[in-house]
Amino acid sequence: MIDTPKVDWFALSPTLALLGASGVALMIAVLLPPWMRRGASAATAFLGFAVAAVLAGLVFAETRTPASLIAESMTRDRLAALAQVILAVTGGVVVLVSWAERRRAGHGEYYALLTAAGAGMVFFVGAENLMTLFLGLEWFSLCLYVLVAFDTDRAGSLEASLKYLIVGGFGSAVLLFGSALVYGATGEIGFSQIAGAAAGDDAFLLAGLAMILAGLAFKVSAAPFHMWTPDVYEGAPTSVTAFMSAATKTAAMVVAFRVLVTAFPEESEIWTIAVAVLACVSLAWGNLAALAQRDLKRLLAYSSISHAGFLLIAVAAGSERGLEALLFYLVPYSAMSVGSFAVVAARERELGRAVTLESLAGLGWERPLYGVAMWVFMLGFAGFPLTGGLFGKLFVFSAAYDAGDWWLVLVGVAATMISLAYYLNVVRWLYMRSGAELRLAPAGGSPPYDPALAVAVAASLVVTVGSFFAAQPILDLAADAASSLPF
């Protein structure tokens, strides 16, 4: 009789809920008549994300001290649970954004892939050794490769997917090679065991650390590992872009923090500098390149690169305060990302073509909700008050200042100054130019009625503004989650 590891099903329940939803959606794609597929599969996916969010919340509430699962390959702690809540809520909102996507067929498959990707991410943030890390990464990446190419009739969709596949595959390979080097150097794959077995300045170990960092940097789209981001964000269906920009970044950032702190505490002097450099490069590159963009999805892609920079400042702090700041930042950031891409999706469906800055003209006056929401999201990205973006930046900066990296604060401030130019430019197009002036006309007469999208935008708006006024409760949750790592 072989010993079977004890499995804590409750801790795995968010992943299982999403996997279940994915399976049901796949069945719907086959078994139900075509006219029911869209509604049924979307409802299933939404339900899956909702149940996963609730379960992750329960796990958060029930977990006082971190515990290992399944032969120490996974961990059950509040950090993972909080990240899972963020991911699942993001996924649920993305389902609402996807609802009215014009698509002839494949609804069931789409939602099956979306929930499967969500399951992969929810699994990924609980990874406790290098094998589950790689498994989780590939799990959600494979789903995303397909999702990016989902609208095969759209120009650029396949191209984007191919780029993502090649670059992402390369990134995964680098991560895997790095893992192998670390395993070679220490003989361990568990994060805490690596920390225990690490022996000083081992070149293998350091090379492995660098490669793991690079592999994760591909996923968070930190410069200089960001080359795929603008093309993929532009070519993917907008709802998928929304999911990627918020959820992929959340998952990869949390995991990066966990790996660095739990597996490589001895090398922290080295990786804090490396991460700080990545942060500076991302901030500089993302912001400067965003200045030159006309296509809104590309602009938001570069903006997400620059936000990877801000998040990496928190990682570079490497402290409990840094992790709190990171987790807090992810909440308004996810809401603003999903919300702004949702507005882009709305405009895209209305005009029937890619959304450039010019085609935003007059949107603010024609659609008050979308206009105000986009305005708030842009201000939030730029760290204005009355949005959680301000506190995100404030906490990240104070974590960096606390850790002695005052120069990172200055870099962040300078980057924010540059970013204003393009964020406010979006607002300018929304309100200060009229559509009539530029002869924009909706493709199919009046705009499509899309209550699900409006709900998604309104929800993102509430979170963005709410995280300003209710900063302390969110910070408390982040502090609870942050205390589960050994600092």
Binding site: L394, F397, S398, Y401, M432, A471, Q472
Partner: protein, 480 residues
């Protein structure tokens, strides 16, 4: 609680105005009503305020982000209550002017005006560094759109320079706020101590210098003041600029005594340069708004001289002059707007001879102008005299420059008055152009009346601004 109501009333009013689908005039009227209620609320606050006590009053403190020591902490000192008072009065006049002028998209426009006035009141009430930053920054959100959507032909360029300048300052301030707050362990202005870090001080000083604006940070001023709707220009020069003065008085001076000592001479010299330079530009400006805009810059230089004289006379004078200048520049801008509406231009070449047959316009403009040029007996004269006496301690040269500034003020103000009212009728002045209408009169007269009251009794403000009327000592002790 009263302070919180003062902040919330315009903000809630803004939401209501923005969301109620009322017809054009009803929307504007509702906004005007909210602004008048705000004035009433301020009067209630002023009646409750004990000016003899002079410590922080009407205060409220609630925890906001405990982990970092950030709180929602508001309250008033004498000087900040006066600044808030002038804010609500000028806002009411500006919103009334918008009602009179009838702007496009009235729901958004009036909501943004109300939002702006709420943010300014919050700035003057803030006793927490982060809350101050939030309100200071929040002012920019409505300003950006107000100038960018309802401004003149070059509005896009105007918003761009306005936002770039002010945001550069604000973000430097954010870095300073973080550094100061984290090193002190609290963001509360009431609890934090002092810092001797000159870089943190500079972050604040540059932000305030841009907002004021002080020479040489005034690059955004001419375009913004010219292109904004005239009531927005009035708000910008009258009250938004005073947020910078409040920042110096409440944050920069008390929290950074050593850097202030080191940099006093530099700031005094820049302020004096701004006073002279702004006055000369105002004298050379080809249009009405240019004159008022640059004179505003000159006056901010003057007020800064008073602030950085760092003695009782100078500080009292600075507060009095801030209040008086707010009223003067608001009435001047509104009058400029009324002239522009009649003539379709603010270019001096097109104007002239409007006094004939328009006695009300002539009387009000001359009254406001005479107060603006600090004729002896006016509130501005009292303020400038106090500043001059105060800055004399720092060196007689500064006092001489203040005197020169008064002379130059007389020159550019008289130039404005004569260009509008006297000489021969300009090509843009049609015979049918009416005198001031009762509605317009009702907007400007209260401002002028406030000025006349202050002229008769300047001590009302100057002796009730700081605890025990010992401003220098109060600031040196950090308002404890």
């Amino acid at each position: 609680m009263l302070t919180t109501f003062l902040i919330l009333l315009p903000l809630v009013g803004a939401l209501v105005v923005a969301s109620l689908p009322l017809p054009r005039t009803a929307t504007a009227g509702l906004a005007f009503l909210v602004a008048l209620m705000e004035v009433g609320l301020w009067i209630v606050a002023a009646l409750q305020f004990d000016f003899d006590d002079g410590g922080l009053q009407l205060g409220t403190t609630r925890e906001w982000v405990e982990s970092l020591g950030i709180s929602y902490s508001v309250g008033f000192y004498g000087f900040s209550l006066w600044l808030a008072g002038v804010t609500v009065v000028v806002s009411a006049a500006a919103i009334g002017y918008a009602l009179w002028a009838g702007r496009d998209r009235p729901r958004a426009y009036h909501a943004l005006l109300l939002f702006l006035s709420g943010a300014v009141v919050a700035t003057f009430a803030a006793q927490d560094l982060l809350l101050f930053y939030v309100s200071f920054e929040a002012m920019l959100i409505p300003l950006y759109v107000l100038v960018g959507v309802w401004g003149g032909a070059r509005r896009l360029a105007a918003t761009l320079t306005l936002v770039v300048y002010t945001m550069v300052g604000s973000l430097l301030m954010l870095a300073s706020v973080v550094a100061f707050g984290v090193s002190q362990g609290t963001f509360s202005l009431l609890e934090s101590g002092t810092s001797d870090n000159p870089w943190i001080f500079l972050g604040f000083a540059v932000a305030f210098a841009i907002k004021a604006p002080l020479f040489p940070f005034h690059g955004w001023l001419p375009l913004a003041y010219r292109e904004a709707p005239v009531e927005v220009s009035a708000l910008l020069s009258a009250i938004v600029s005073k947020a910078a003065i409040y920042g110096f008085l409440r944050i920069a001076l008390p929290k950074f005594p050593e850097p202030v000592d080191d940099l006093t001479v530099l700031i005094l010299v820049l302020s004096a340069a701004g006073l002279v330079y702004g006055s000369l530009l105002a004298f050379r400006a080809p249009d009405l708004r240019g004159i008022v805009a640059y004179s505003s810059m000159a006056q901010m230089g003057l007020i800064m001289l008073g602030v950085f004289a760092l003695n009782d006379l100078g500080l009292d004078g600075a507060v009095l002059q801030s209040v008086a200048h707010a009223l003067v520049s608001a009435s001047m801008f509104l009058l400029v707007g009324m002239v522009e509406r009649r003539c379709g231009t603010g270019e001096l070449d097109g104007l002239g001879g409007m006094a004939r047959g328009r006695p009300l316009l002539a009387t009000v403009l001359i009254t406001a102008g005479v107060i603006a040029l600090a004729v002896p007996g006016s509130a501005t004269f009292a303020g400038e005299f106090l500043i001059m006496a105060g800055v004399y301690d720092e060196g007689w040269g500064y006092a001489a420059i203040v005197a020169l500034g008064i002379v130059l003020a007389a020159m550019y103000t008289l130039r404005l008055i004569s260009a509008v009212l006297h000489v021969r009728p300009g090509p843009a002045v049609r015979d049918e152009a009416l005198d001031l209408r009762p509605g317009e009169l009702a907007l400007v007269l209260p401002l002028v009346a406030c000025l006349l009251v202050l002229s008769a009794w300047p001590a009302l403000v100057s002796q009730s601004s700081f605890p025990d009327d010992r401003p220098a000592q109060v600031i040196a002790e950090g308002f404890r």
